[in-house]
Amino acid sequence: MGMTITEKILARSAGKDKVTAGDLIDANIDIVMCHDVTTPAAISMLQEKGIDRVFDAEKIVVTPDHFQPAKDIKSAELHKRLDTWAKKKNIKYYYPIGKAGVCHALLPEQGHIRPGEVIVGGDSHTCTYGAFGAFSSGIGSTDLAAVIATGQLWFKVPQSIKFVLKGSLPKGVYSKDIILAVIARIGTDGALYKAMEFVGDTLKDMTMEARMTITNMAIEAGGKNGIMPFDEITKAYLDEHLTNKKEYTVFESDADAEYCQIEEFDCSKLEPMVAKPHLPSGGVAVGEVEGMAMDQSYIGSCTNGRIEDLRIAAEILKGKTVKIRTLIVPATPVIWKMAKDEGLFDIFYDAGCVIAAPTCGACLGGFMGILASGEKCISTTNRNFVGRMGSPESEVYLASPATAAASAIEGKITDPRKYM
């Protein structure tokens, strides 16, 4: 029996020739992502336990993002603790405000993500990096503390589910619609503890930005990691973005690798999707909810705050005026500048949108676009849990940037194909 790409990467990280689903391993971690919500606690734990050390100051990447720029005194204190520690420990890749961005957009863009590596981060959407053929998974603060100090972490090798994506995406349908359809089919615990391996010819037409939207939401189906095969599109992105360490190893699943489940999707038949409250699995075709009045449109986050997302939104908003509060949140300073230089900001400004600084912001109900009771928001983010973006009596509808932009124009959920 062969191995899956996930098994091969984990075997390599544990110095083994072979691992099988269910094996417990001690993995050597290649990259650790740290942000402002979960890392300060990890630092305090290490200090309290008397093991205040870092295993490798060049393998830890630090950026504040959730509450940055600091939204209140308490979050400013979190940033101060993170900043003090990063400087004291000479963390080589520390991105303070001005360089800081939404972590899962920032790390690939700044060249910290390589195929074949094991990446962990104190954030559930760390699974994003699997789009590059890496194993990456989200962890909590204690795991983060352990890995910062030792560079190692225990893992149970997951079983894999293969998702075969077939056919070309129709006009107006994007990678966000695919992952919402996947989660709608299998549920928020449909891939619990498992690796979600995405393959198929649909990927061939997708940029790395679009692919990352899919692996980003693996956690919304309970997945341990999301992963995709390496190809020429991956290579082209890496050639452009890798600056420090440029070597990497490509792994691919064996033809006789074992999968516990195989799910096929004919992407050519997909429609724009909207996930209704209060679970990401609430996805339906846009037609089922079309016309529902919204109070806000939010375009940003680690799921859909990359330059391609902003271009898609701008294309629809060009020459139009929004009817509801519309927030544009470029995920990183580089994306922010690209959007400005390409003239997208003019389009957003003319349409009546607000353009924010890079931040996770309102995606998790932090700040910068919080919802009042009774309000509804169409959002390009990843979760629509009760109270996720503000009041427990508010509602979040998840969709692609195109659907969020079209809905902003009409003030109600709108099929983006109407504006194409």
Partner: protein
């Protein structure tokens, strides 16, 4: 003896356990005052040390915030019994030295307010109110070892140079 707080629901997520608006602190006692606030505003008022939460599938899904475990532990909850747990929450709890119980049968055999006793070593939930015993599979050995050591950091300290 502990009182059961039963939530006949699946997918109780980390945003419900501790809303993100309180993540600007990692102080356990402060987090505890908001535990389950958006799901059951009276939970904190009605909870006594050692009480037990009981729920359905996929408990703790969503964010990696360990704050969810801290809020529950800070509220002095003895353990959480669920049909299944979301991965990161489950792992965080073990790391924190907080014992979770996975039981397919508990939700159907425990009513809100029942008195419960738990025999961790033998994997038995005793429902004193109904007189019924519910068995569960104890955590795997490596997890029990981490919990007995007082959490992952104490555990790894034993082998660190």
């Amino acid at each position: 003896m502990a009182r059961a707080h039963v939530y006949k629901r699946d997918h109780i997520n980390t945003d419900e356990i501790i809303p993100a608006r309180y993540l600007n602190t990692d102080d356990e006692a402060e987090l505890a005052t908001h535990c389950l606030e958006d799901l059951d505003a009276d939970f904190i008022k009605n909870t006594k040390p050692g009480d037990i939460m009981v729920a359905g599938d996929d408990f703790g899904c969503g964010s990696s915030r360990e704050h969810a475990v801290w809020a529950i532990r800070g509220a002095k909850v003895g353990t959480v019994i669920a049909k299944t747990f979301a991965r990161i929450f489950y792992r965080n709890a073990i790391d924190c030295g907080f014992y979770l119980i996975e039981s397919a049968d508990a939700l159907d055999n425990i009513n809100d307010g029942d008195n419960i006793e738990i025999d961790y070593d033998n994997g038995v939930i005793k429902n004193i109110t109904s007189g019924k015993d519910i068995t569960f599979n104890p955590l795997p050995d490596f997890a029990v070892e981490i919990i007995k050591d007082g959490g992952l950091l104490e555990h790894i300290k034993k082998t660190m140079k």
